[in-house]
């Protein structure tokens, strides 16, 4: 069926373009190759005629040996189904590609990221400047010829470790000692971040007809920095807000304070080494991060996972969803000013689930539990009993209690209903994912739209709410916990005994050349891993489509016209984790 769908799209697209657009026929690669000047045409046809209305992922790949930069787009239909993968190539020197922001506003931050890290210039982008690195940074760190401070070798394992491992502290003995590069004429004393001045200037523009009666209105606008110190306990994140009185005129998120160039690290690593690094993306949901990465690499390797391992994977992913939603609800209430009592009630049960994670994987949060083709350890019987007890008794009781505690609370309703509204059309256009998308009335869930693992076996509903406000984003999390519990009950009922790993898991896997996009419905939204292999032990490209990052694209839109006090509530309702946002 999948082949059929693919062929259909191929025919439709080639009919539109008269054979101008070719399928990508490099080894193991999928999708269409299109010249940059036809990209906008193709995207318009895909969106308006073929119904690919959701831009999931946009990223660049640096093909250094071929002196080319490639931009890869993953488009989906909001009714579900496989991806339309579009690739466009441009010379590596001065790479220029038309911007898709006008068609898919959700491309905004992703294009900025590709510019920042790879130096791909998106023509027509309204605000193309650095997003993760600081404004004065020199170079584009994801380029293959860029070397980080304390650079040792292009690829791990490093030769100095064995067999002549005379330990050194890396910061003392590397050729590129402190190789931070500064722009010419840089002086720390006199430098003011140009980007910041631009940021404020762009925000302070008063529209000509602001008065509404033809005369310009004489009001002062105030720019307020919320953050970067934990504006609302979520992490180091900053929001530059322009206010007219107490009303928000514009809001720009500023991020990157926790940036560690996760993708560069991953491209130095071997495949298996990346597994524990994915734990550190969204550190609340490490189990399901593992799942997304494992799926991408398993797709490339073409290996199957044993039944029991699949069931345990689903069990862990759903427990993770419960953990995350309990956390999100608790801390949303924190943001609303109900300081810590609701949060601690909510995360009480999280503790018990983390004990389960610890007993199966060895760590509460950095689980590192999945392997390609299976799992690291089997699920012990006593832990299974604990899970059963939790799912059958304790967790339903907790969710009921939270429901009683919060849902009808007048203050929560007053602060939530009608606040931070994102309409259905906006949610799709901004590539919002997960609870944000579904609270706006789009019943899109990767578990249903393009089932992975064994999700097609389970009976569950895709939770959906229609108002798209803070209150609905709270409610949808309660709904989703109920659905997760429903899935867990089926997992507990059906889980078989047997193997948990296909073959022996070697310490260095062989991954055939090609590309794969593995995506899972993470608690915060669609988490995607785009992996390009060139057949060597290390991935050539590894990109994370981080839901927390892309969901923030719509933050400004949600906050406009709201009061300043609502910003924190709206941010809390998006539920971001900075480990994943900044990567």
């Amino acid at each position: 069926m999948r082949e059929g769908l693919k062929k259909n799209t191929v025919n439709e697209i080639q009919a539109h373009f008269d054979g101008e657009i070719l399928a990508d026929e490099r080894e193991g690669q999928a999708g269409f190759l299109v010249a940059p000047d036809r990209l906008l045409d193709l995207a318009t046809v895909a969106r308006d005629k073929l119904g690919y209305d959701y831009l999931s992922s946009l990223t660049g790949v640096d093909y250094l040996p071929e002196e080319k930069m490639e931009v890869v787009y993953h488009l989906y239909r909001s009714q579900g189904g496989p991806a339309l993968v579009v690739k466009t190539q441009t010379p590596r020197e001065n790479p220029r590609v038309p911007s898709l922001v006008a068609l898919y506003p959700g491309a905004d931050f992703q294009e900025r990221e590709a510019w920042d890290l790879l130096g791909i210039h998106f023509e027509g982008h309204p605000n193309l400047k650095r997003i993760l690195m600081w404004e004065g940074f020199q170079g584009h760190p994801l380029r293959k010829d860029w070397h980080e401070p304390y650079f040792e070798e292009e690829q791990k394992p490093f030769k100095s470790r064995w067999p002549e491992g005379n330990i050194i502290r890396i910061e003392d003995h590397v050729p590129h000692h402190k190789n931070v590069q500064y722009p010419e004429d840089f002086s720390a004393e006199t430098w003011t971040p140009e980007g910041d001045a631009g940021l404020y200037a762009g925000l302070a523009r008063v529209p000509e007809n602001a008065g509404g009666n033809g005369r310009p209105l004489q009001t002062d606008r105030i720019v307020v920095n919320l953050g970067p110190q934990h504006p609302s306990t979520h992490g180091v994140f900053r929001m530059v807000v322009t206010l007219d009185g107490e009303t928000i005129v514009d809001l720009q998120p500023v991020m990157g304070y926790l940036h560690r160039n996760h993708e560069k690290i991953a491209e130095r690593n071997t495949y298996i080494m990346n597994m524990p690094f994915t734990d550190r993306l969204d550190y609340i949901c490490s189990m399901s991060n593992n799942l997304g990465y494992a799926l991408a690499v398993e797709k490339l390797m073409g290996i199957e996972v044993p039944e029991r391992a699949e069931y345990i994977r689903v069990m862990m992913a759903e427990l993770t969803r419960i953990v995350n939603h309990l956390w999100a609800i608790g801390f949303l209430l924190n943001d609303l000013g109900a300081f810590f009592t609701p949060a601690l009630y909510a995360i009480n049960e999280r503790e018990l689930i983390l004990d389960v994670f610890e007993a199966v994987s060895g760590s509460r949060m950095m689980c590192n539990y999945l392997r390609f083709g299976g799992l690291a350890r089997d699920l012990p019987d006593d832990v299974f009993e604990t899970v059963k007890e939790l799912v059958m008794e304790r967790l339903p009781r907790k969710v009921k209690e939270l429901d009683l505690y919060i849902t009808s609370n007048e203050i929560v309703r007053a602060r939530g209903i009608g606040v931070g509204v994102l309409t259905r059309e906006q949610a799709l256009a901004y590539s919002a994912a997960g609870p944000i998308l579904r609270a706006s009335g789009v019943a899109y869930d990767v578990r249903r739209a393009e089932p992975y693992s064994i999700y097609e076996r389970f009976d569950f509903d895709v939770a959906v709410r229609y108002n798209g406000d803070v209150y609905d984003r709270y409610m949808i999390r309660i709904d989703e916990i109920w659905q997760s519990l429903k899935i867990l009950e089926q997992v507990i009922r059906d889980i078989p005994r047997g193997e948990i790993q296909t073959g022996k898991s070697p310490y260095q896997v062989r991954v055939p050349a090609g590309d794969a996009y593995g995506r899972v419905e993470n608690p915060k939204g669609e988490l995607g891993f785009y992996v390009v292999s060139d057949g060597k032990p290390n991935p050539w490209r590894y990109h994370v489509r981080a839901p927390s990052f892309i969901n923030l694209t719509a933050l400004g839109e949600m906050c406009k016209g709201q009061k300043i006090a609502d910003v924190v509530a709206v941010l809390g309702s998006i539920d971001i984790v900075l480990g994943e946002t900044d990567r």
Binding site: K156, P157, F158, S160, R161, W162, P163, E164, G165, N166, I167, R169, I170, N269, T270, I272, M273, N274, M275, P276, F277, T341, Y345, N348, E351, L352, D355, E358, A359, V360, S361, G362, S363, M366, N368, A376, R377, T386, E389, L390, E393, R394, E401, L404, Y405, I406, T407, S408, N409, E410, I411, V412, R413, Y507, Q508
Partner: protein, 204 residues
């Protein structure tokens, strides 16, 4: 009615508040500082307050728990210590943050590598406790520890563990991971038996 939701919520808080006292009364002063009470307080049967009075009370860690690796040595009958490690370097090659450094030396007479490592270092500031080294070691020579209280004042002096600091007897391993140990020993015995059978078959 306006305020109904608030009152309901306050009732939940009140229930939690009273619940803690009820649980205290139920345990009659034996709720804290006792291992059996702690076990129940941290299980799905727990009621009342969840907090643990660390460091007076410590949560027991599950067998799978992993923290900084250690090296296993066997103690022979005559008291000599023999490393299980053969310095094959797989742990150093699979280590994601590359914090393992192994020094292997050659026999001065034959010029061939000596199997046991001359030295073995782990930079515990860099170790991310992922456990891949222990998972992929073919000789069961490196395992993850349970001891997590490693804070010290001197980073430079104390945070690079050398072979002496890393080595632990096999008995220690058995004490912290009894079921893993049993499984590995069974597998080893089976292998030995198969080898012996083959040898017998070959000689006869």
């Amino acid at each position: 009615m306006v305020g109904e939701g608030l009152v309901k919520g306050l009732c939940v808080t009140l229930k939690h508040f009273i619940g803690t006292y009820i649980d205290d009364i139920r345990w009659l002063g034996r709720r804290y500082y006792r291992d059996d009470a702690l076990q129940i307080r941290q299980s799905p049967k727990a009621r009342g307050i969840f907090t643990v009075q660390y460091p007076e009370e410590k949560l027991p860690v599950p067998e799978a728990f992993r923290y900084i690796p250690f090296l296993i040595y066997e103690v022979a009958e005559d008291g000599t210590m023999e490393d299980r490690c053969t310095s094959c370097g797989i742990c150093a090659k699979v280590c994601p943050p590359q914090c393992i450094w192994i020094e292997r030396s050659n026999d001065p007479e034959t010029g061939r590598p000596i199997p046991a490592p001359t030295n073995f270092y782990i930079d515990i500031d860099i170790c991310m406790n992922c456990g891949l080294c222990a998972e992929f070691c073919p000789f069961d020579a490196i395992k993850m520890d349970h001891d997590y209280e490693l804070a010290s004042y001197k980073r430079v002096e104390n945070h690079i563990f050398d072979k002496t600091r890393l080595s632990r007897p096999v008995d220690y391993y058995r004490s912290i991971r009894p079921s893993d140990y049993a499984l590995e020993e069974a597998a080893r015995a089976e292998k030995e038996a198969a080898k012996a059978a083959r040898r017998r078959g070959g000689s006869s």
